[in-house]
Symmetry: C2
Subunit: 666 residues, 2 copies
C-alpha cells in the first residue's frame, strides 16, 4: 500500500498517463469484489494525463492463474472516467486491470481535423507519416505494409484537403490503434473478482429440523423422512433445503427442553452440541440415518432442483472425539479441564470452542477444512456456517479460498448476527452470502435505510444479504403479536426486498408465535432442544401463499437481483413501497407495516424512470391476486387491509392496450 | 495493492485482530494527507477481532526516515472505531500506522468484573496469576517484581471478593497494559503525512506586475519600485506578494499589446515568454533590476512579514538559452524547427514547451529542479507554478519531494485551471495549494455545492483551495458588470469562504473592469503585454475595505481554516450565509449575491450548534461596520443594500450582558 515517492533512477519518467479509482475495488484491492456467472462485469477507472494529448485505455482481464491477459478497449464516459466490460461465464477467481497511455496518433488525428492552415496540414501530414512508419515497425507483415503505404501517401500528397482525407481515414485509425505505441503505458494494480454461481445471489431457503420430520407424532424423524418431505418443500418453491447440524449430539452436559441445564434421559439435546462417541463433524447422528440415507436425500433433492445446505458449526460437545484426540486444540483451565464457552456470568458447559491461538493452529485449520471437503465429496455445495465470527478471520479467508480452488461453485452463508464491521469483514474474507439485521428492521424508515445501505452502500460489492423473517433462534416480537398479517407481510418483504431469503419452517408457515417467556425471542418448546410434530395440512397454513410469492420470484428477473431496488414515496408512514427492475421487467411492491389496521396512501413514482409515457395510463397487474389496476401519472392510490392482504406485488405493464391494438379495429 | 489470499505457510494464523479504514488515507495510501505545523493529527481506524475477546490498539508515528516509532494509546469511539492523536511541531513528512491485538488480560479483567460464582472467581484468579507471570517475563526489573508479587497475591487468595479486588486493581491493569502480549499484534501499512507551515493553509496573496510599479507614468517599473510599494501591500493586510515571472523576456515572436501577433519595437512582451540572450529561468530581466535588488526586496518584505512568491513557468521563448543548449528537451517538427505550443487551429509561436518524453528526461528534470533550488537559495519559499498540468505528473511528485527533503517549509501553489481529476492529481502529487473554480462560481447553489465539496469532500485531506476573484488572465463577467458591489462581495466571499485567497492588484482595488472585447475574460490593455500605470490614491479605491477584511481574517482564527465551514439556510436565493468556527470564535457571513438590488431574508441557524442557549438572545457584532445587533432564537432577519454594503461579517458573541453583569447591580 504505502508508496514512497519514486526516485529518478530505476523508473521511466516518461510514463505520463495515470489511472485512479478503478471500480469495483474493495479496500484498495485487499479483497475481491463479487459477481455471478452470466454477468457482464463493468470496470471503470479515471484515466488521464498531463496536458492536452489524447489518452487511450484498455481493460485487461484473465482467470486467476492464467498468464496472458485478454484485452478490450475502454470508452470515455465523461470527466476523465472510462468504462469497459467483460463477461464471466464460469465460477472462479478473475483478475482485471486497466492500462492507459498517451496516444500520439490519437492526438495527431484530433488536431489534424481542426487544422486549416495549408502549411500546418502539410507539416502535420509528415508527422503522421512518421507515426505510421513507427507503427509499422510494431506491426506484423500484413498491417506493416498497409501502414507503410499509408505513410507513403501522406508523404506524397500536397493538396491540404487530400492530405486531411488520407489522414482522417477510419481504416487507418483502426490500424494505428492496433499498433499503438505503448512504451509509456501505465497499468493499474490487478484486482480480484470472485465469480459465483447464480444461486449465490438468487436463492430461496427453507430450514427444517430433520428430527421433527416424521409424519407421525412422537417418532424421531430421519433423513428418509426429510426425503419424503421434499415435494412439500418443492411445492412451496424453495430451492435450498437447509438442515441444522446432522451430526451425533453430545451427551455430556446435554441441555434439556427449553434450554434447561439438566437433561432428562429421553431429551434429544441440541444439534449444535456436536460430537459424541459415534463421531463428530464427519458423522451422521445414528437416529437420523446413515450416510447412504444422506446420499439418497441429496440425490433426490437434486432431481427436484433443490440443493441441500448443511450447517457447519465449528464447536464441540465435551464428548466429541476431537477433545480426546486433539487436546491442544482447546484452551485449558488452570485445573486442567477444558475451557467451555462462556460469556460471564453465563456459562455454556455443553460447548467447547476451538482455540484458534493453539500452537497447532495449522493442524486445526487443516482438519476444519477437511470437514467441508468431506461433505463436498458427498454432494453438498452450500454451507450455512454457524457463528463464523467466533472463529479467527484468517482461517476463513484461507479455508474458503482453498475450497474454491477446486470447487468454485461452493456457497458459504455466514450466520454472524454481530457488529457491522465484523459481518462485513466475513463477507470480504470470502463468505458468499450473509445473514442480516432484517429480522429487527420493522419501520418504514428502518427498512428504507437498511436496504438502501445493503443495495447501494460500499458493501454492495461484496456483502450479499440473505434475509430471514424467523430462525430457530429468533422469533421476533412482531411475529409474536402481529398474527397472520405479520407473517404474510414479513414474507413478502423478505422475498421482494432481497434476492435471497429464507424461512425456518414449518414454524413459519404454521405461524408458530409463542415465545419461551415474554420479552424473549426464543421459541417456546423450541426444536433446538426437543422433537416437535407439525401438522402440515392445517387449513390456515401459509404454504400456498408462500408458493405464490416464490412463483412470482421465479417468474420475475427483477426480483432476482438487488442493485435495482429503489424506494418510492408514499404519504403514509405505515406503507412501504419500492420497485425493482430488470430491463423490461418492473415489479412494484407495497406493504402495509401496520398489521392491525387498513392503511391507505398515494404512491409517487416517476413514470419516466420506468420508460413510461407520463401522460398515458399503465396497467398494474397485482400478482398475488391476479387483479389488474389502471394507474395514471405519478401519484396513485393504494389501500391495504391487513386482514385481507397486507401487501401488493404489482407487475408494471408499460402500456395499456387501446382500440388500435385489436384486430377488429381495422 | 493486490493481495493474494495468504497461504497457510509462512505466516502466523494466530493473528486474529484486524485493522481497516485507517483515516486520513488518500487513494489507499498512494498519496500523503496534509496537515500544518501545530495541528493535533487525529488518526482513526476500525480495529476488531473475531469473538468476544477484548482488543487493544495503539497509534504509531515517526518522522519519515526515523527508525523507531513513537506510540500513543488509541481509544474506542464506538462501532469498532478507534481514535488516537499526535502533535506535529515542524514541517516535513511523517508516517503513521495502527497496531492492534487481542488482549487476553483485558478480556480476563472485563470477565472477572462480571463473575459472581465463587468457584469461577477462584479459577479466574489463577488464570490472572498466569497472565501476570507471563507479563513479568516481558517486563524489566522493577515492573517484573510488581507483576510477580501481584500474581502471588492472586494465587494466595481464597475469598472471592478479595480476589476480585486484587484482580481489578487499576494499578495492575496499567502495569499489565505496559507489558501486553503483542506476539499476535497486527499492523496497518504505514501511511504518509505531509506537514506544512501554517501559511500553507492561511495566507492572503497580492499579485502585481513589477514593471507597472513605477510611481510615475511611462517608466518601466523595477524591483526597487516594488520594494517601495511594500508598505501599501502591508497596509492592505496581505502576507504574500506574488510576482509574475521576473526573467528576461523573449524577443523572437514577441506578442504586442492586447496579445497582438506582431509586437512594436517598444512593446515589452509577456513575462511568461521566458528567456532571451540575457538568460532564462535563473536570471532577472535587466529592466527590473539586479539580483541584489531582488535580495533587497525579499529582505525588506520579510521585515514586514510579507513573503515573496515567484511565478515558475516551465516554458521557453524561442530565444531562451535552453533551446540552443538543450535541443533534445524540445520536440522537433519534420522541417527541423522546434515545435511551438499549439491548440489547433490556435498557435502560440512565442512559446516552446518542454518535451517530457525527451530521451534526456532525467537531465530536464534535474535542470527544472535546479530552478527552484536557485530561487530558494535567494530566499524564496513560495512558488506559484504556472500551468503545472501541462508538465508530466511524475516530474512534480519527484521535484516537490526532492525540494521538501531539504526545505520542507516550501509552498507550491498549483495554477491549474483544468479538469477536476487533473487538479486533484496535482494536489495529491505534492502541490501545497491549488487554484480553484471559485472565479466561475456565482450563484448560491454553485457556491454552496463547490465549497461543501472543497471543505468536506475526500479532497479536503490534500486539496487546499486558494481562491481568486480575479487574475491577470481572468476578469470574470460579474466584475465586468457588477460594479463596486460585485468587487466588494467577491472579496468578502473569497476572504471568508477560504482561508487562503488572493487578488490581482491594483486592478482589483481600482475596480478595473473593461474586457478586451465583449464576452472575453481578458483585460483590455492587459498588463500581460504592456506597462500600466495605476493611481493608487484614487478616492474610490477599495484598499481600505480590503484592509478591513484582512484585519478581520487575522483577528479571527475561525477564518484561518476551512474544515468548519457550514452553510446556513436563508429564505432568499440571493443571500448566501455561512458560519465558520474555531472553538469560541464564531464568524457568520452573509453576502448579497445580487449586486443591483437590496435583498432581505431570514437566516436560520441552530443556536445549540454554536453552544448558545436557544431561548436567550445573543449579540451579532458586525465587523465591517462595528454595528451590533441583537439576535434571538433560530431565525433572524437580514437586509443588504449592495450600494451600502453587499455583505455582513458577524462575530457571534455567545452572551448578551444582563443587569447582573455590571458592577452597579449589587
Amino acid at each position: 500500500m504505502q508508496a514512497n515517492v519514486p526516485s529518478i533512477a530505476g523508473r521511466d519518467g516518461r510514463i505520463r498517463a495515470v489511472i485512479e479509482s478503478v471500480t469495483p475495488q474493495v479496500d484498495g484491492g485487499r479483497f475481491a469484489a463479487k459477481r455471478i456467472v452470466g454477468d457482464l462485469v463493468e470496470i471503470q477507472a479515471d484515466c488521464f494525463a498531463d496536458g492536452h494529448d489524447a489518452v487511450a485505455a484498455v481493460l485487461h482481464w484473465r482467470r486467476a492463474g492464467e498468464k496472458d491477459w485478454k484485452e478490450t478497449p475502454m470508452e470515455p464516459v465523461g470527466n476523465d472516467r472510462w468504462r469497459g466490460c467483460f463477461a464471466v461465464d464460469s465460477p472462479g477467481v478473475y483478475e482485471y486491470r486497466v492500462a492507459a497511455w498517451v496516444d500520439h496518433f490519437l492526438s495527431w488525428r484530433r488536431d489534424l481535423a481542426r487544422r486549416d492552415d495549408p502549411d500546418d496540414i502539410r507539416i502535420a501530414a509528415l508527422v503522421g507519416a512518421q507515426l505510421a512508419e513507427e507503427a509499422a515497425q510494431r506491426a506484423g507483415a500484413g498491417d506493416r505494409d498497409l501502414l507503410l503505404d499509408w505513410a507513403a501517401r501522406l508523404r506524397a500528397g500536397t493538396a491540404p484537403q487530400g492530405l486531411k482525407a488520407i489522414g482522417l481515414d477510419q481504416t487507418f485509425a483502426a490500424l494505428a490503434a492496433r499498433h499503438a505505441d505503448r512504451r509509456f503505458a501505465c497499468y493499474s494494480e490487478p484486482l480480484r473478482l470472485v465469480v459465483d454461481p447464480p444461486h449465490a445471489v438468487f436463492s430461496s431457503w427453507y430450514e427444517l429440523f430433520p428430527r421433527s420430520a416424521a409424519d407421525e407424532p412422537g417418532r424421531h424423524g430421519t433423513l428418509r423422512d426429510v426425503e419424503r418431505r421434499l415435494p412439500y418443500v418443492k411445492r412451496m418453491g424453495f430451492d435450498v433445503l437447509y438442515l441444522p447440524p446432522i451430526h451425533p449430539i453430545g451427551r455430556v452436559n446435554r441441555k434439556g427442553r427449553n434450554n434447561s441445564l439438566v437433561a432428562q434421559p429421553d431429551d434429544v439435546g441440541s444439534p449444535w452440541a456436536i460430537g459424541a462417541a459415534e463421531g463428530g463433524h464427519k458423522a451422521i447422528h445414528p437416529e437420523l440415518g446413515t450416510m447412504d440415507d444422506f446420499r439418497s436425500l441429496v440425490a433426490c433433492a437434486r432431481e427436484l432442483g433443490i440443493r441441500i445446505a448443511l450447517d457447519i458449526a465449528f464447536q464441540c460437545a465435551p464428548d466429541h472425539p476431537y477433545v480426546q484426540e486433539h487436546p491442544e486444540w482447546f484452551r485449558k483451565r488452570p485445573d486442567g479441564s477444558v475451557q467451555y464457552a462462556e460469556n460471564p456470568p453465563k456459562k455454556y458447559q455443553d460447548i467447547y470452542p476451538f482455540d484458534f491461538e493453539s500452537p497447532d493452529w495449522q493442524g486445526l485449520w487443516q482438519e476444519l477444512l477437511s470437514v467441508f471437503r468431506f461433505w463436498i465429496d458427498e454432494g453438498v455445495t452450500i454451507f450455512r456456517v454457524d457463528n463464523p465470527h467466533t472463529k479467527a478471520f484468517p482461517f476463513w479467508e484461507w479455508c474458503i479460498a482453498e475450497i474454491k480452488k477446486t470447487h468454485p461453485e461452493t456457497v458459504f452463508l455466514s450466520e454472524a448476527f454481530t457488529r457491522p464491521r465484523v459481518m462485513h469483514r466475513l463477507a470480504k474474507l470470502g463468505f458468499t452470502q450473509s445473514y442480516t439485521y432484517f429480522t429487527w428492521r420493522n419501520t418504514k424508515r428502518e427498512l428504507t435505510e437498511y436496504f438502501t445501505e445493503l443495495t447501494r452502500g460500499p458493501g454492495a460489492e461484496y456483502f450479499r444479504p440473505n434475509v430471514w423473517p424467523n430462525t430457530p433462534d429468533i422469533l421476533p416480537e412482531h411475529l409474536q403479536y402481529g398474527g397472520r398479517p405479520a407473517f404474510m407481510a414479513r414474507l413478502v418483504l423478505a422475498a421482494t426486498l432481497s434476492a435471497s431469503y429464507g424461512i425456518y419452517g414449518p414454524a413459519f408457515e404454521l405461524m408458530e408465535h409463542k415465545p419461551r417467556e415474554p420479552g424473549s425471542e426464543e421459541y417456546l418448546d423450541s426444536e433446538k432442544y426437543q422433537l416437535r410434530h407439525w401438522d402440515l395440512g392445517r387449513e390456515d397454513s401459509l404454504a400456498d401463499f408462500i408458493a405464490r410469492v416464490n412463483r412470482i420470484r421465479h417468474e420475475h428477473p427483477a426480483l432476482q437481483r438487488n442493485h435495482s431496488l429503489r424506494f418510492l414515496e408514499v404519504d403514509n408512514e405505515h406503507l412501504l413501497a419500492y420497485a425493482k427492475r430488470d430491463e423490461e421487467d418492473v415489479i412494484l411492491t407495497v406493504v402495509n407495516l401496520d398489521y392491525h389496521h387498513t392503511q391507505s396512501g398515494w404512491v409517487t413514482l416517476d413514470p419516466a424512470e420506468f420508460g413510461l409515457d407520463a401522460t398515458a395510463g399503465y396497467q398494474m397487474h397485482e400478482l398475488l391476486t391476479g387483479a389488474r389496476y389502471l394507474w395514471h401519472g405519478n401519484r396513485n392510490y393504494v389501500s391495504l387491509d391487513p386482514q385481507r392482504a397486507p401487501a401488493h406485488i404489482f407487475r408494471l405493464r408499460r402500456r395499456v392496450r387501446r382500440e388500435q391494438d385489436f384486430d377488429y379495429f381495422l
